[in-house]
Symmetry: C2
Subunit: 133 residues, 2 copies
Amino acid sequence: MNALTDEQIGGVLGLLKFDANGLVTVVVQDFASGSVLMVAHANREAMRHTLETGRAHYWSRSRKKLWLKGETSGHTQQVRELRIDCDGDCVLLKVEQVGGACHEGYRSCFYRVERDGAIVIAEEKAFDPGKVY
Amino acid sequence: MNALTDEQIGGVLGLLKFDANGLVTVVVQDFASGSVLMVAHANREAMRHTLETGRAHYWSRSRKKLWLKGETSGHTQQVRELRIDCDGDCVLLKVEQVGGACHEGYRSCFYRVERDGAIVIAEEKAFDPGKVY
């Protein structure tokens, strides 16, 4: 995704329906593999930064601050495609993920899967979280 | 996914962190293509029904009721895989989608995509919503 102009950014933001907390839900998918990597939230400012820079920004509900994904870990997300759902309250980002999306060291936050009625870990760690956080 | 026993269902539900409204976020992905189809919410009862029947159930926040996906349209979702994210507040369902997931007639709710700074419709309709709702 190329960086958007102010006018283009205004057009995209105008289609979004931010909730009572000023947030949209963001689903993040690996551009190459199609794996769902994580779910996060973005306010208007985070969406603007994403659209201006082409790098995924979110709003951290726990830390209550704008969050450039990868600012600590280096595990940035370059946005290759942006989609908006029918209601305008969810955004889908297809990204090139450096390292892993999950703070626990996995490529995807969805590393736990149901198998025969039990929830098991289905993936190898992509990095050692103790070394990057 | 096979229907789970009561004990297995209790095990899965015990890993989920329902929010202040008693909900988890559910991301729904096409099992065959990997396309993200929709984002919805589930309460404990909806998750239990999904795990018992293998068919996706949600909690409709607008109608404030349990919702078997496809109960009106016939566009049901057979769950083939269930994943839980690291925080336990998001569930990923990989489903076999009959017809389309979107009430506007598209296969996916994410039928709008950014192209050269504008948001455009990227998909053909899969069905006529006037005929199924």
